[in-house]
Symmetry: C2
């Protein structure tokens, strides 16, 4: 969740405050047998930072509410918090505080990120217009591909470094900021729920439709054999934390922004439908089937 | 937890941002068989708002992360959120957003309050000096008295209106603000953990000791027979959400601030000990035995 906060008594120049709050719950958002403490720290922080990135914002401080079960191995909390601080620092975010409690069941984390954006400058989800191009950063489906492997194999058989987008996602903060500073986007969101669901959010809030070109969607290359993920994972797999944005037709969008590849995958339309045009040119309705959090 | 946040690029006049995050977990901070949804909303919001009050701040917005178990009765969430919004409004706080998730076990709530205080004006815990008077608002022990009754009796036998400080605590926002605006306090905290523990926090952060007069401590009057609570509850019972502050000797402290009674209960000393002087004038060491959250 992300929210823009403008304090009533502050006028003129300055910043708007951005606030994100996101639960990371054991058995819902991560599994202790699948995810080492440092991966949980990466994923936990990426959820909030990516939301700030999608508004073109700059993260300012992080807060963590953490409830731990009594039977947790002693070094777990230390490893987790150390990773969280280190990961935060790499994004220039200070872990400024939080709350601790004992959990009756499982590890419970709630990460709060405070961010800033120049007053009135935040990129919203509601600005897409018919004719705008649709763009995505990086590749899609890499995180969900890891879940698929973890579902089939013991975690010990999976090398986290084969699935960096799942185990150590890097939020696109510099990209989001560059997009805002250069005035490129009419609307933006991060791909936390999956392309089909996140695009549906933009369309709904902008009151428009969309048409995606199936062949244009950049599918992640993952695993030991470096294969491309299925189209299904690229369309509906979540937690890639890439940026999905729209841009007016007259804007020249570079192929890379802040070092990250940017791909045009379709365009905004005047209707309210979201369509996927396949390799032979036939348009299919694209349902929002964004990845739901896995369960134990 | 409470934290003061100053954005680096903002200089001169304006506000400092205050951020609080507090878990409210079923079985740790509340019990569903003891607390109706509206009481949980009151208590949840009071935790964060009281922290803001203790810095002399003004709450700006509230955010809620809420994870609910699948088997929760349908109308629970509606009643809880409605109470939270209504209670927030009575303190001029908008519920600005939040995160929702499914909980694997029990109701999980994390409340985040964003507040503001004029730059550099927040009252901290670290300003108490030897010779300062120690003051507390309202009465102490009323919330813990309710827990004691709930422990002994079925919840149906308890009338919540007999224990307002437990079931519907009102944070002392106007009092905290008046204390800041009139420059009365050298240090301040809220009594969320209990007098003995919260006073110990002030002493530790200020590098001082304290001497309390046992007879001066305002004990809550609760229950059907309107009895005064035990000294133990007033000393160590938590969650009364009163304000505990220190003031230099030359400050004249009114008997009421913003309509709430204020009582002088002792004074700050130069040592590092916290002492309780009993009715016959003998000083005892006061251990910080603040109320620990009850368990199922």
């Amino acid at each position: 969740m992300l929210r823009l906060c403008r304090q009533k008594n502050e006028r003129g120049k300055g910043n708007d405050t951005l606030v994100t709050t996101d639960f990371c719950l054991e058995g819902v958002h991560f599994r202790r047998d699948w995810h080492p403490p440092d991966a949980i720290a990466y994923r936990c922080l990426a959820r909030g930072l990516s939301d700030i990135a999608a508004m073109g914002g700059r993260p300012v401080a992080a807060f963590l509410s953490m409830a731990l079960p009594g039977n947790l191995p002693r070094n777990w909390a230390g490893r987790f918090v150390q990773s969280l601080i280190k990961t935060g620092e790499s994004h220039k975010v200070t872990l400024a505080g939080g709350d601790t409690a004992e959990s009756p069941h499982g590890i419970l984390l709630d990460i709060i990120i405070l961010g800033a954006v120049p007053r009135g400058g935040a990129i919203l989800r509601s600005g897409a217009r018919p004719g705008d191009g649709i763009y995505v950063t990086g590749e899609l489906g890499g995180s969900a591909a890891a879940i698929r492997q973890l579902d089939k194999n013991p975690a010990s058989k999976i090398d986290p470094s084969d699935y960096p987008r799942h185990f150590s996602p890097v939020p696109r903060i510099a990209v989001g900021r560059a997009i805002r500073e250069r005035g490129l986007a009419s609307a933006m969101i991060d791909t936390s729920d999956g392309l089909s669901t996140d695009l549906a959010h933009i369309c709904e809030e902008s009151g428009v439709g969309a048409e995606l070109q199936q062949d244009a969607i950049p599918r992640a290359i993952v695993g030991k054999h470096s294969g491309q993920v299925d189209l299904e994972l690229a369309l509906h797999g979540g937690e890639d934390y890439e940026l999905l944005f729209t841009a007016p037709p007259h804007k020249r969008i570079p192929r890379r922004i802040a070092g990250v590849p940017v791909t045009r995958i379709g365009q905004i339309t005047g209707g309210r439908k979201v369509l996927l045009v396949d390799a032979v040119g036939i348009a299919h309705k694209l349902e929002a089937r964004g990845w739901e959090h896995f369960r134990k």
